[in-house]
Symmetry: C2
Subunit: 314 residues, 2 copies
């Protein structure tokens, strides 16, 4: 059985039309579609040019807290001098969680002239785009194969009126398949990826794949965050490692990437997420918030450094 | 923006060859490929006919414990009169966890004559096939788009010497995309799906999509399991709902599907999984094992009932 580990082939109109003698699409269809695709690519470039920093949050493993990290990252920047300058692209097409976690359930993307789409904006001015805003209810699944997911992510980037942003955070589903590949292809000047893990060895072995993925597609790894790391019993204060501890640090050491820090397991984080609140706003003095602040400063440092390097390179 | 929620289109040779006038494939190529595909489909049918019960474990949300449930389900049947009659297909191509959880890391699928593949077998005779057995190391990602994933799942089913099995459990990645769709299409006589959730509302809203998915593709829902439900502090005995509680029961009630039970959050489950052990074997008297035994009896009841119904229908 042949294993390909570097398939980055993109499904697009040009390939479809370039098939010699393919008569399922007429020459007119192809010209129209090529024109449409070209226009979309131009819109995409224009939109991305107005966004200073683009950061994706990835993980090989599901349920490690990517969306929690994304929401709190966005909130941290939005409440610190970047109000109305932060966006979140929820690229988890099958299981979009961001709207629920930001208290935006039930909202819809609003359309404008010429196919424009306006993101949903929360109290702190975070602009959010998610598949969830297009579904009739929670129960509706999106039963899509890869090419359709690529298309919708492209539309989310090119047809949404993001405006001028300082930061766009892209929350990706687990794995190294269609969604992460599409995002990396569509946003070639992405600043980097933040990798989230939980401490278990099972998670460790899967999350390592994300680090290799980022390296293979040539995207800088900003660092790794260990979520759900240790638990302090609210009744007796005992420290219990529900999912063990130290997996994040081990990945960082093994794969020579920066370790950003660990976020403790805290029942309040779940309650806050369910209530549409960010824990760093709701529980300002909790150990999780303190840990998260340190993580943020390391991310800011990374962005400043790369910023300086970029200006030097200019 | 148009949303399709029922796209079950399959990428196959016939479609490729049926394109009128497509000269990228010659007529000879097409005949060869059609023949190969036909032979593979026949092998698939033959293989599936020898497996009495096929059950998929799904969830809209990642990290809820699908693989833990799969491993312990397989183990429960393997140690109870079905030794050497149980198989696991790890259909999570990007993040395969089953080998690690069964202590089979580092093993490889062994090839035989005519492209045959032999599954890796554990101590209890559970036959396992996983992408992990084909990768050089933990760090190697599988950067594949959907069609390749469909192909490898098809090969796992048709080219592996599963032999006569009483039960085949299919562990699926989160979501309602390529992998679940492929499995449902490739195993049309699947007994049903078991849905796994964790108690949070965020998980609830996403997992509901899996129920609709199963209903839309016409697969019976055996029931839902709530994992990581409540936590008892090992030091003081206090019960803490780390991820809240009751989400699984609410989904069952809201969507009129059977509720199979809840598995408490227990640090031993993580330690056992990391150590390649099944918690129902390692911790025979734990609350988690007791809860799991009740779940198993409900699943057996479902299979007996559908078995009786099937014989009546004959």
């Amino acid at each position: 059985m042949k294993i390909l580990t570097n398939t980055t082939k993109q499904v697009n109109v040009n390939e479809e039309c370039d098939r010699k003698g393919d008569s399922s699409l007429t020459s007119g269809d192809c010209n129209d579609q090529r024109k449409q695709q070209y226009e979309q690519e131009q819109r995409l470039k224009l939109k991305l040019r107005k966004i200073k920093h683009k950061i994706a949050i990835i993980s090989g493993k599901g349920g490690v807290g990517k969306s929690t990290v994304t929401v709190n990252l966005a909130m941290a920047f939005a409440i610190n001098e970047h109000k109305n300058q932060v966006g979140i692209l929820d690229a988890d097409i099958h299981g979009p969680c961001i709207p629920k976690m930001l208290g935006l359930k039930g909202q819809k993307l609003i359309g404008g002239p010429g196919g424009m789409l306006f993101p949903v904006t929360n109290e702190q001015g975070i602009k959010v785009v998610s598949m969830d805003f297009l579904l009739p209810n929670d129960e509706a699944p999106v039963i899509w194969r890869g090419p359709l997911k690529m298309k919708v992510i492209q539309q989310f980037l090119s047809d949404v009126t993001w405006g001028d942003l300082d930061y766009l955070f892209v929350d990706l589903p687990p794995g190294t398949g269609d969604e992460p590949l599409s995002v990396m292809q569509l946003i070639p000047d992405i600043d980097g990826v933040i990798i989230v893990t939980m401490p278990s060895e099972v998670s460790e072995s899967v999350v390592k794949k994300s680090v290799t993925f980022a390296k293979q597609v040539g995207i800088p790894v900003i660092g790794i965050i260990e979520n759900m790391s240790g638990f302090v019993c609210p009744d007796c204060g005992a420290k219990i490692d529900v999912f063990k501890a130290g997996g994040g640090k081990r990945i960082a050491d093994d794969m020579a990437i920066p370790y950003l820090g660990s976020i403790p397991l805290d029942p309040k984080i779940c309650t806050d997420s369910d209530g549409g609140l960010s824990f760093i706003v709701k529980d300002k003095n909790s150990p999780a918030t303190k840990a998260f602040r340190e993580i943020i400063s390391k991310i800011e440092l990374f962005l400043q450094k790369t910023g300086i390097e970029e200006s030097i390179n200019l």
